[in-house]
Symmetry: C2
Subunit: 118 residues, 2 copies
DNA sequence: TTATCATATACCCATATGGATATGTGTGCC
DNA sequence: GGCACACATATCCATATGGGTATATGATAA
């Protein structure tokens, strides 16, 4: 088996730069495919396919408006990613260093308590 | 051209579930390949290659210790991802809704000022 | 109805995986 | 030196892209 299907996983869907561009563009509000094609400077079929992937992972929603299809951002879909990387934030963010130290100290004390048989 | 090389981009590197598992495991501290092989239940060559990818995007560092190679997490590499998704956080997090409303109001006032000639 | 606009699909193709397996390389132990 | 151990690489292979181009579908305008 090659890589996991990108349509299965938000991480994969968002790993593609063009798709991130699309999402970024949609933070400005609903947009028809047409407009995204111009913004990305990519051919329409490719944009449509990227949008399909984003739809399948729930990162965007569609709405029919005449002969256009308006795509809208569905930010909740990105929450899992945010949750995941946030777990690492304390490892690089100095604002968390003090807290880390405190926790380390507490853990140390616990260990000593156990060691001394409580 | 197919997908952008995973070794080029942290987003791609992290899009692979196994590689996320590796990073998660490394939050506990340095580990030899050996140990990661057991943890992931994946063959050693595959683990080595995932580690190579992670090294190439700077997500992990290596250190030689006798005949072992100890891999260590390099959390800063994940910061770009965190920065990117954080830009979306206000779109789903209700704690930001009030702030958004305020900003929207301010923007509204600006627009009216412009409209009135100012 | 027919032509046209806005999209979505269908293919084709080159390329990048990821896993499996075999083998190369460096280090410590006898 | 010779061998086992811990990893890293090299190949092979099936599969999943992503872009390019042609075409189908749906709605609206003429």
């Amino acid at each position: 088996m090659a890589r996991a299907a990108t349509t299965t996983d938000t991480f994969n869907a968002v790993a593609e730069p063009r798709r991130r561009e699309i999402l970024d563009a949609l933070t400005q509000g609903e947009r028809p495919v047409n407009e995204l094609v111009e913004l990305l400077g990519l051919a329409q079929p490719q944009v449509s396919r990227h949008l399909r992937v984003l739809r399948e992972v729930g990162a965007v929603d569609v709405r029919d408006e005449g002969r256009q299809r308006l795509y809208r951002l569905n930010p909740q879909a990105l929450k899992p990613i945010h949750d995941w990387v946030s777990g690492y934030q304390h490892l690089w963010d100095e604002r968390f260093e003090l807290l880390d130290d405190v926790l380390a100290d507490l853990k140390q004390e616990d260990t000593q308590d156990e060691g001394s048989g409580q």
